[in-house]
Structures are given as structure tokens and as C-alpha cells.
């Protein structure tokens, strides 16, 4: 089986160049100026861009246990539509991924039915309850790529230190959802001007920052690899900067929504603006954009968090936190950060593909001879509409609902096979 992609603008080794790409079976066989090989399918990508398949290291597939929100099939189909070829599933399913049986289940389902590679992240503590260390060694032998209690945060510093030391033993990065429960309280949105104005309880920036400060110190002591999920505040970034300057193996990710929206979005009481961590101040948002540009923020992750309509369509303080992200991530970031010239296209692609896979030491990604043919072909001049009926995720909870956005994913290939073709 051969597929030839002609005339596309490809992201190769950090630069965008016009190259033809020949795929043989699952791998990239040849990259050259003008390839004239026989192929089973020839894609004319003239005027389009060819990127490495996007890699999302932070997603919720809700399978097992909450498949009314999403399952491995619908989740990976949505991922493929968004140009993703690899996704990492967070462990806060039902049951929690704190055992090898659940790790096996997810991997098997994904292999049998999936439209993307699914990597599993195991829990740090049993049931993510923050009380006992999970069986990390067993889960590692089953294939988990990291541990995280995402959605929750280990409050006990002594236990967290032990978890980190144990994770180091099995060479597992520790991913934290930084949230001090007491400081966050019953908060619904960022503790700022908007919370004062609309009377919703606030989640202070401090709830995130104090845990990041604590965990950087714990990780230094434990010699652990620490990755901070969905970072949101200027001061959090300052803490990461200092840790990196000290040479500590500390990394962080940012979501598209924290790059593009601020607390003012919550003025509408639209529950699709309710997420954790919350949308922060404009100053924090700008700091995130700057840090993505400079590389202080290592990569972009969607925190794809599907919730059913009946859960989101309710009073703001009774609705669950989170929004979907696979299908919107690239287009909204392209339209709002690349088009106006705030972030170079090359940096966006790096942060969505090669950087995250390197960060979690996933199989090598990037357009290079011999690599798996995981590719995303995008037309930056077309537009995409996020109408509910076009969304492949089972859930439709996104603040970009019904918006028309410049750029459109046209094809996604996983191991040389099409996982998505635009209509």
C-alpha cells in the first residue's frame, strides 16, 4: 500500500517547506522535492499544509464508566477529526485507572476500534483518593506513560513526596493538577473582577500557585520528573521559569482555552466557560501566550473534557467543570494566535506535535523518513464550523459552538491509514 502526498507545505525539522511525501504501508518512505512514484492513492495537497499528527497528552475519554459522555471510539474519532493521531487518556474514569486490568482494557479497545493511538496515564494514588500510592510498577509494565491524579490533587505533602520517589523508581513522569482544596473552596470561576461582579465564588490563583511551588520543591527532593498540567497564571509560570533555570526536569502545558479566553467569558453565565482551572485574568492569559511563544510552556494539551448536555445545561454552580477540545484546538489557535502574527505557525505545530511526544517519551513523531506515517493535512484558507451536528465527540460542550473559524483539517493519517477525511 502506497500513498503519495504531492505539493504540500510540510513541517519538517522545525521549518515549513514544500515537499512531496511517499508513504509505504505504515511508514514515511521518502521525502523529496518531486516524487513520481506509483501510488495507490495520490493526494494533491497543493495550497495545503502537511503537519506531523497532533499529540494530545491530556484528554478524558470517559471510558470505562461514563460512556454517555464519550467512549474510546467517539473520542478517538473526534481526535482524528481535530488532526490528532495520539492522545493520552487521563485516569479519572470509573473505575479509576489505578490497576493493570483497566490499563489493558483501554489499550485493547483503542487498538481494536480506535482512530488514534491511545496512551494511558495511571493514577498517582489508589482511586486518585490521595491516600495510598497506586501500583505504579505494575501499571508501568502494562504500558502507562505517566502518572497523574488529574481532576484531583494530592493534598498531603508527605504522601506526594513518597509518590514522587516511587514514580522515580519506575521512571514515570508525575503530572499534577495543581489545586489546593482549601484555597479553591467551592469556587466556580477565577477569583477576580468578574467573580466580584457576578457573585460566583472564586478559585484564587493561589490555589494553583502554592501547589506548584510545593511540588517543585518535592520533585527536586525526590529527583522526579514533574509535569504541570493546564498551567494558567503568571506567577505559576514564574515558578516554572525559576525551576527550569535551576535545571530541574520541570515541564508544563497550556490549554487552547486558557490561551484564548479570560474570566470575562463567564459574564454570560454560559456553563461552557466553566472549567478547572478556571479562565483567568487577561494578564494571566497574556503571560501564557508569551510563555508558549518563548518555550517556557513546553506544549499545548486540550484537556478534552466531555460532559453531556443535561449536565451542562443547568445553573452555573451546579454544572460540571470542563469543555471538549479535540476538534477545536488547532483551528481556534491558528485563527487567534497565528493569523494575527502573535505565534509563528511553526511554534504552534511544534507545541502540538513533536514537543508533547518528546515530553512523555512517546514513540518518535515528526515528518522524517522511517517514522510512522502519522500526518495531518490542513487547509489554512478554508473555514470550519463547530455546529453541534458536525461535532464527532458525543458531547458538545464548547464555548466555540456555532462559530466559524478559519482553517480546516482535511485529512488525518495514522500509520499511513486515513482516520479522517473531510467531506
Amino acid at each position: 500500500m502506497k500513498t503519495l502526498i504531492k505539493n504540500g507545505l510540510a513541517y519538517i525539522e522545525g521549518a515549513i517547506v514544500k515537499m512531496d511525501i511517499l508513504i509505504e504501508d505504515t511508514r514515511i518512505a521518502l521525502i523529496d522535492n518531486d516524487i513520481t512514484a506509483d501510488a495507490d492513492e495520490v493526494i494533491d495537497a497543493a495550497g495545503m499544509h502537511v503537519f506531523p499528527g497532533f499529540v494530545d497528552i491530556h484528554a478524558h475519554l470517559r471510558d470505562p464508566g461514563q460512556t454517555y459522555k464519550e467512549d474510546i471510539i467517539s473520542g478517538t474519532r473526534a481526535a482524528a477529526k481535530g488532526g490528532f493521531t495520539s492522545v493520552c487518556a487521563m485516569p479519572n474514569t470509573e473505575p479509576v485507572v489505578d490497576n493493570i486490568a483497566t490499563v489493558d482494557y483501554i489499550q485493547r479497545r483503542a487498538r481494536e476500534l480506535g482512530f488514534a493511538r491511545v496512551f494511558v496515564i495511571g493514577a498517582i494514588t489508589k482511586q486518585s483518593a490521595g491516600e495510598e500510592i497506586s501500583e505504579m510498577a505494575t501499571m508501568k509494565s502494562g504500558g502507562v506513560v505517566a502518572v497523574s491524579d488529574d481532576g484531583k490533587c494530592v493534598q498531603n505533602a508527605k504522601l506526594m513526596l513518597n509518590c514522587m520517589r516511587y514514580a522515580v523508581n519506575y521512571d514515570l513522569p508525575v503530572i499534577i493538577h495543581a489545586e489546593d482544596y482549601h484555597l479553591a473552596g467551592k469556587g466556580q470561576i477565577h477569583s477576580g473582577k468578574i467573580a466580584t461582579q457576578i457573585g460566583l465564588s472564586g478559585i484564587p490563583a493561589l490555589a494553583e500557585e502554592t501547589i506548584i511551588a510545593r511540588d517543585i520543591m518535592l520533585a527536586e527532593s525526590a529527583k522526579a520528573r514533574l509535569h504541570i498540567a493546564h498551567i494558567t497564571t503568571a506567577k505559576s509560570l514564574e515558578l516554572v521559569r525559576r525551576a527550569k533555570e535551576q535545571g530541574l526536569p520541570v515541564t508544563c502545558e497550556v490549554t487552547p482555552h486558557h490561551l484564548l479566553l479570560n474570566e470575562e467569558a463567564c459574564l454570560s453565565f454560559d456553563t461552557n466557560t466553566k472549567m478547572k482551572p478556571p479562565l483567568r485574568s487577561e494578564k494571566d492569559r497574556l503571560a501564557c501566550v508569551e510563555a508558549l511563544k518563548s518555550g517556557l510552556i513546553d506544549c499545548i494539551a486540550t484537556d478534552h473534557a466531555p460532559h453531556a448536555d443535561f449536565e451542562k445545561v443547568r445553573e452555573f454552580d451546579h454544572a460540571p467543570f470542563g469543555i471538549i477540545g479535540f476538534e477545536t484546538a488547532f483551528p481556534v489557535l491558528y485563527q487567534s494566535l497565528v493569523l494575527p502574527g502573535i505565534i509563528p505557525l511553526e511554534r504552534l505545530i511544534e507545541a502540538m506535535s513533536t514537543a508533547p511526544s518528546k515530553l512523555l517519551r512517546l514513540p518518535e513523531s515528526g515528518i522524517r523518513k522511517g517514522n510512522p506515517a502519522d500526518l495531518t493535512i490542513v487547509d489554512l484558507n478554508q473555514s470550519s464550523v463547530f455546529a453541534a451536528e458536525n461535532i464527532l465527540s458525543k458531547s458538545k460542550n464548547t464555548p466555540w459552538l456555532d462559530q466559524t473559524i478559519k482553517s480546516k483539517i482535511i485529512y488525518t493519517l495514522l500509520d499511513g491509514t486515513f482516520t479522517f477525511r473531510a467531506e
Partner: protein, 312 residues
């Protein structure tokens, strides 16, 4: 008086949707309604055939009675729906509740709910005008209108008045709506309370003055409003004891002397006598606390009349 088209079918989520002129128009209408309340036969046929629903998901007998009385006096039919938040969470959603009520032909909803933004939801689901009777800590526009009405009635023009509000600013929906309305009408408002009960960004968001010392806050005030201090805030670690709070923030003869000599004394009720206000002040000739309740009915009548139309 005839309702003007500009008010027909409008929502009252908060006062920020209403201009200073519109607020004054509402006050004028309320003045007319107050006269009806003083008659022997306190009923006019204005809203005959209209159905008003009081949808109270949070308990407040006083506010509900005030809305229902207002609707009754205008001859509207009143449907009362009461539910606890826990009941709503268990089974039927607010959406389903509204769909059910809507099927009964409601023309106007008056809602009280612990969730900010819930009046907007009721309007979204029903398409009918909604008067916010208090949504969590967010807004309480009818209370603000009756407060402003009470001041206007006694002191005339609101412009340039120095108004001081004392107490748990953080958890008060009354303060937020009052600040919007009073600032629109040109008053200078000072809010005062312990730092732990003061939201951040008050100056930026509302253009008010923030004071932590009661004597400073009261200096030269034309109007002084006390707010109810709730015991539960103590267990939330926001203040140590009612006694200590009272020592520093109670409205008494001793503290009120910093305000203007015949400053108006207000309180949205219910009062903790001896905690935020002493009887010597609450029952003094300067106090309009009892009148505020009567004015509440008039203001709510005015809003229903203006929103649903008709002749008075």
C-alpha cells in the same frame, strides 16, 4: 398612568440593563402604586387575566409574600412554586420545572435561587420576562429599587448623596445591585466591613470607596445601611465571633454620630438586633426600615405593571 412600550416584556436580571432615566421612571411608577397601597380597597384591575409565577428555589417568605401581594393588588393570578435546591438537584432540573410551569401559561416569572445567573436560565427556557428576586450573591434588583425608592422619597435627588453600606459585603446580593443603581443615579457609595468579608476589586468594579474602619466609613454619610451578619460565616473562618464583629461594626448611638445628624438608617432585613444594629438605632425616628418593606410591594407592583403592560 399607562405603561410605556420601552418596558414591555423586559427582564429585570439586575439594574445594569436600566438607564438612570429608566430607574427614575420605575420610581415614579412605584410612587403611584404606593398610593394604591394606602387606599382602603387596595386592588386595581390592571393585570386581570395575567398569570405571575413566583418560582422560589431558595427560601424567603418575606420576598415571596411581597411579590405575591404585588401581583394580587394588580389583580393578576398568582402561581407559587417552591422547591429546595436539593430536590431540584436530585430529580427535575430547573429546565424541566420551567417547561412544566410554562405549560400552565405563565406570563411573568419572579425567581429566587441560590445560583447566580438562574434568572437568565429561566428566561432562556421560557422566553417569558423574568424578575430576579435574588440569585445567590449576585443580584437583588427589586431590593435595590426599594432601597433607592425609600431614599428618594425621604431625601429627594440621589445625586451627590453619601451612602454607606456596612457589613458582610462579600456575601451580599443587596450590595451589588444597590451599588449599580446608586452609582447610576449619582450617589457616592462607601462599603465597609472586615477585610475577610470584602470582595477584591470593589473600587474597580463598582467605583465605590472601600473602608475598613466604621467611623471613617460613616463620616458625613446621608444614608447608612446595615447588612445582616450570618453566623455561618464564622465557621467559614471569615470572622471570629459575633461579639467581636459587633464591637467594631455595630450601628449604635456611639458610632452613628460620625454620620450626618439626621442620616437615614436602613436595613434590608431580617435584622440581628444587637449584632449589626442596636434597637436604639433600628427603632429611631431616622430609621426607615419598616417603610422599606411597604415600599417593596410598591416597587414590585410598578415593575409588574411596566413589564406586563396595562393601565393603572
Amino acid at each position: 398612568m399607562t405603561a410605556t412600550p420601552q418596558f414591555l416584556g423586559r427582564n429585570v436580571f439586575d439594574l445594569d440593563d436600566y438607564s438612570a432615566d429608566e430607574i427614575m421612571y420605575i420610581l415614579e411608577a412605584a410612587k403611584g402604586m404606593k398610593e394604591i397601597n394606602l387606599r382602603e380597597y387596595k386592588k386595581i384591575p390592571t393585570l386581570r387575566g395575567k398569570t405571575v409565577c413566583t418560582l422560589f428555589v431558595e427560601n424567603s417568605t418575606r420576598t415571596r409574600m411581597s411579590f405575591e401581594l404585588a401581583a394580587n393588588r394588580l389583580s393578576a393570578d398568582v402561581v407559587s412554586f417552591q422547591a429546595s435546591v436539593s430536590a431540584l438537584q436530585k430529580g427535575e432540573s430547573l429546565q424541566d420545572t420551567v417547561y412544566t410551569l410554562d405549560a400552565m401559561g405563565i406570563d411573568l416569572y419572579c425567581i429566587r435561587h441560590s445560583s447566580p445567573g438562574s434568572p437568565q436560565l429561566v428566561h432562556k427556557y421560557s422566553g417569558k420576562p423574568v424578575i430576579n428576586g435574588g440569585d445567590g450573591r449576585h443580584a437583588h434588583p427589586t431590593q435595590a429599587l426599594l432601597d433607592i425608592f425609600s431614599i428618594w422619597e425621604k431625601l429627594g435627588d440621589i445625586r451627590g448623596l453619601k451612602i454607606t453600606i456596612v457589613g458582610d459585603i462579600l456575601n451580599s446580593r443587596v450590595v451589588r445591585s444597590n451599588l449599580i443603581g446608586m452609582k447610576k443615579l449619582g450617589a457616592e457609595v462607601t462599603v465597609c466591613g472586615p477585610r475577610t468579608l470584602m470582595p477584591s476589586y470593589m473600587e474597580e468594579v463598582y467605583g465605590c470607596r472601600v473602608e475598613y474602619s466604621l467611623s471613617e466609613a460613616l463620616r458625613d454619610a446621608d444614608v447608612v445601611m446595615g447588612l445582616r451578619m450570618q453566623l455561618e460565616r464564622m465557621t467559614e473562618g471569615l470572622f471570629p465571633s459575633l461579639e467581636e464583629y459587633s464591637k467594631h461594626y455595630v450601628l449604635s448611638k456611639d458610632t452613628i454620630k460620625y454620620a450626618k445628624k439626621d442620616a437615614l438608617i436602613m436595613h434590608p432585613g431580617p435584622m440581628n438586633r444587637g449584632v449589626e444594629i442596636l434597637p436604639e438605632i433600628a427603632d429611631s425616628s431616622q430609621s426607615v426600615i419598616v417603610e422599606q418593606v411597604a415600599n417593596g410591594v410598591a416597587v414590585r407592583m410598578a415593575l409588574m405593571f411596566l413589564i406586563l403592560g396595562g393601565k393603572a
